[in-house]
């Protein structure tokens, strides 16, 4: 069975006044019908990796890879027109704050229908019906009413669920979620994650979950990649997190304050320059 996504030796570079900055350095991984988490701090290159897959990085940024295949078909050499076919229809992306990813002057229902009609030639009525169906699928209880609302009228959690509806309505094979719950309250996070989980499983999709929250990712995903300074330093099965070998992963885990394990001074991560020198770990 071919993997949904194969990435080999991905590099993302940006030329600056002081030389070339490497945001992603030789990252390789494969994605099947599973939930893959990519964890890292700011500057680790995790968001850049997600954007590189969707070819969203504009010049002067440069994206190179030995291989970047969607179900065996190359992504790197596709033209912009071909990529528009991929984006949304085969790979979709959810970002952090629905306040910034939903069009503020358009009713949400219309945005979802528009997303659907971009990739399917159907009538407006049919698109509306599908949109309402999708809103129900993301556990919005009053889809008719919410359909007519504007983004500023919905709460953060609902906004994010609307984004999920919008991104899943064209039935993509892969969803990339870039910090989807970071802007949400803790109790709402659970609800949104459960919905994402259910939909991804039901549709047999692959999910790439990008986050800075190691614990959240390990509870939600099947496999986790840990990134540091543009490279993958470790990859683990999510339930084996406590068996992490790499000192960076261990450092991340140990520097978190724990309600159930009080401590006087938190362990501070000592960055070893060797971590950014070592080559990327492959999965």
């Amino acid at each position: 069975m071919t993997n949904l996504l194969d990435v080999e030796n991905l590099w993302v570079k940006f030329p600056t006044r002081n030389g070339v900055f490497d945001a992603v350095r030789g990252v390789s991984f494969s994605l099947g019908q599973e939930r893959l988490g990519i964890v890292g701090e700011s500057g680790s290159g995790k968001s850049m990796t997600g954007r590189a897959i969707l070819r969203l990085i504009r010049s002067p940024g440069m994206v190179t890879a030995d291989r970047m295949d969607l179900e065996g078909v190359d992504l790197l050499s596709r033209t912009e027109k071909q990529m528009r076919d991929v984006r949304g229809k085969q790979i979709s992306m959810i970002m952090q704050d629905p306040k910034f990813s939903l069009n503020p002057v358009m009713r949400v229902g219309k945005q979802i229908s528009e997303a659907y009609r971009l990739h399917n030639k159907v009538s407006k009525a049919e698109a509306k019906r599908k949109s309402l169906e999708m809103l129900e699928a993301v556990a919005i209880r009053d889809p008719e009413r919410v359909y007519e609302m504007f983004p500023h009228e919905v709460s953060g959690g609902m906004g994010q669920r609307i984004m999920i509806a919008m991104m899943l309505i064209p039935d993509p094979k892969i969803m990339i979620a870039d910090e989807p719950t970071s802007a949400l309250d803790v109790s709402v996070q659970t609800q949104v994650l459960e919905i994402m989980d259910k939909l991804v499983k039901d549709r047999g999709m692959g999910l790439i979950f990008i986050s800075h929250d190691l614990n959240l990712v390990s509870a939600f995903c099947d496999r986790v990649l840990i990134m540091y300074a543009g490279r993958v330093v470790e990859t683990l099965a999510a339930d084996k997190l406590h068996e992490a070998q790499h000192p960076y992963t261990q450092g991340l885990l140990n520097s978190l304050p724990r309600l159930d394990a009080p401590i006087d001074r938190l362990q501070v991560l000592q960055r070893d320059p060797a971590w950014s020198e070592a080559p990327s770990v492959n999965t």
Binding site: P257, L259, P262, L266, V268
Partner: protein
């Protein structure tokens, strides 16, 4: 005698039909040298209490007492010397065109200090930044470094009380640990009193000894940190918050 005493605090925005009550009937007391946490989700009113204390909230009623003195609707120079605030977003709390040196010297001269050079060096040392950072602009600093500068600015006036508004929410996990340790050390060294707001129960549990839980503008429960750790809570909302926070701890 409490260092900070708040009784029946109400804070609202707008009038009549458009009135929104951000805080309703809040009561809390923090002893000298103590460290008190306010937790809740967005919209709970926790940051509004801090802002009301600093004079940044427009309309409020009730009693606020700091170091035994009642606080009215105006704040005196003396108040600002003794009570300082650290803001949440390190990317927004420093003036983009002022260097670290300018920020600290302006603060020090506003409070009437004369030996500005020595004090700046000492402040930068206290917060773990060296003299190399003194003339940098904010865009040349990382998030953690900016937050350290914000803490240095707060300490410049030699305050007794620090109000901390989500001081580590915008920071990476590893940087958060450094800043939390710094805050712990500073409190021990200078005998400060902390009132901290956060949505992160683990962070609050690490720094604070007493915690008030807020929901929709009201303090629903006040408890000690040991009780919180042991889940000996009374109010169902507290329990709900604790359970949501514990989700995602590593499976063992």
């Amino acid at each position: 005698m409490s260092e900070i005493l708040i009784e029946n605090l109400n804070v609202w925005f707008g009038e009549h039909e458009e009135r929104v009550d951000a805080v309703k009937g809040a009561n809390l007391a923090v002893p000298k040298g103590g460290s008190f946490g306010l937790v809740g989700e967005s919209g709970s009113g926790k940051s509004t209490i801090l802002r009301a204390m600093m004079g940044l909230a427009p309309t409020w009623s009730g009693k606020i007492e700091v170091m035994g003195q009642p606080v009215g609707h105006e704040r005196s120079r003396d108040f600002y010397r003794k009570v300082q605030m650290v803001f949440q977003d390190p990317y927004a709390s420093l003036h983009p065109r002022h260097s670290v040196d300018q920020v600290l010297s302006e603060t020090l001269s506003l409070h009437g200090f004369k030996d500005i050079d020595t004090r700046i060096s000492k402040l930068l040392d206290d917060v773990g930044l060296g003299p190399a950072f003194r003339f940098r602009y904010p865009h040349q600093l990382s998030g953690g470094q900016r937050q350290r500068v914000a803490i240095a600015r707060a300490l410049a006036s030699e305050p007794e009380i620090l109000l901390l508004d989500e001081p580590t929410s915008a920071l990476d996990v590893s940087v958060q640990a450094e800043i939390l340790n710094l805050l712990t050390d500073l409190r021990a060294e200078h005998g400060l009193t902390y009132l901290m707001v956060s949505h992160n129960l683990a962070v609050v549990g690490h720094i604070c000894s007493d915690i008030a839980v807020m929901q929709l503008g009201e303090i629903v429960e006040t408890l000690g940190v040991e009780d919180m750790r042991a889940m000996r809570t009374e109010h169902p909302y507290t329990k709900h918050l604790l359970e949501s926070s514990l989700l995602g701890l590593e499976r063992s």
